[in-house]
Symmetry: C2
Subunit: 250 residues, 2 copies
């Protein structure tokens, strides 16, 4: 593994001197306003020209402060209308994706890392979901299972409910950090599944039926509050699903 620059322990008393640039200071301030709730999702920021006057800086600096926040999905700029605080769900997706997958060539080893990490995250999510799921969580999960059953013959719809099933479990685990991770990694997995399935659409049907049965088992375990059973069920599901999809690749 490359990934040098290990722990990077800095005992150096001569720290780096970095005078804050104007735009970075504005970034920090805006981030603070968002995290402390002064600016809530959907709120509209003052116009750039207005911010120039408020901060007493040039418009360049304001824009260069807004730009990173926009690129990372924390703000959204709508030309002609204004700049708005993005929905919370979008505020972490892009940086997380960049951080996890960024700078990594899409080679095979990487694919394996992805699948393995996903396995770890989702089995644990199932475990915690079994212990913590609320009534609403259970209802939401059950709804996705029913959706899958209903659309057994519509691969696109089926996959949609399949994905939602996993999302709802991640949500039921009541760990925001875990939810975010699964959300992002699941996105990658989903495209991978799509590629594989496109190779032999005829297989999709039988895979779906197996998958549905496994989802039912997972849900049953979660509903019964049995954390270990939920973990095992999810483990079993992911193992077989991954294996099946890899077989298709051949």
């Amino acid at each position: 593994m490359a990934e040098n620059t290990p722990p990077a322990v800095t005992n150096d008393p001569f720290r780096q001197i970095r005078r804050a640039t104007v735009s970075d200071a504005i970034v920090d301030q805006l981030r603070g306003l968002i995290t402390d709730g002064t600016l809530k999702p959907g709120d509209r920021l003052p116009s750039e020209r207005e911010l120039c006057k408020r901060f007493d800086v040039g418009r360049t600096s304001v824009r260069e402060a807004l730009k990173p926040l926009i690129t990372m999905g924390i703000l959204v700029g709508r030309g002609g209308s204004g700049t708005f605080v993005a929905a919370e769900s979008g505020q972490y997706q892009k940086p997380l994706r960049w951080g996890l997958l960024g700078g990594m060539p899409g080679d095979l080893q990487n694919q394996d890392d992805l699948v393995e990490t996903r396995h770890m995250l989702e089995t644990n999510a199932a475990h915690w979901a079994a212990l913590r799921a609320t009534a609403e969580n259970l209802a939401a999960i059950e709804a996705t299972v029913q959706g899958m059953a209903e659309y057994l013959d519509d691969p696109a719809k089926f996959q949609e409910f399949d994905a939602n099933f996993h999302f709802e479990i991640a949500r039921a685990a009541q760990n925001k950090m875990l939810y975010r991770l699964i959300n992002v990694i699941r996105g990658q997995i989903q495209t991978w599944i799509g590629e594989r399935l496109a190779l032999s659409p005829d297989r999709a049907d039988i895979l779906s039926r197996t998958s549905l049965e496994q989802h039912r088992e997972i849900f049953a375990a979660i509903r019964s509050g049995d954390g270990d059973a939920a973990r095992r069920a999810m483990d079993n599901h992911i193992q077989t699903a991954t294996a099946d999809l890899k077989k298709i690749a051949k």
Copy 2:
């Protein structure tokens, strides 16, 4: 948990339209050049004025493309010198931290999520490390254990080797994605440990001795290639360490 906007399944035939901006296109292109290795860490980008001519756009657009990459730590701008590709470790640290911790708010729920996620990541890392550690990995891990033993009376040094112990295990798991996650989360945990330990420095000594013993057990399990034992040992270590630190908080 807030985090609404679940899977965001849009069957709406009237999709959102968004025109691409110039700077975003440049961002994508630059990220591509970095990902595919055309631009390697340490490389110097053409000057902004040069990029203007290459892309045939205004300097504003070039700068607004560079700014997000700089803010996320993928590039570093040195005034008077140029803009450079950051070291690989810097390319995922900051984005990951932003995405995972969404600012840096130290609210309680967040802290629990952090500890729980860390537990999941590290126990799995130990498991895989036991199955995959190379001779070099084992040597590196052992070195950190020896370092801890040597600096039992120097809390700062001890913590440093402690942290490196966990980093080396993460590395030995041979999963780059997992390594990055642990790297970032460990950073947060480390500051948390520091805070707690500062509250009662006298406790540090006895905690260190217990910790060292547990590290030895983890290492032994990894060296023997027993994945389950390694997971249990790491689980035990983290559980007790977390509990002890939380007690200090009182």
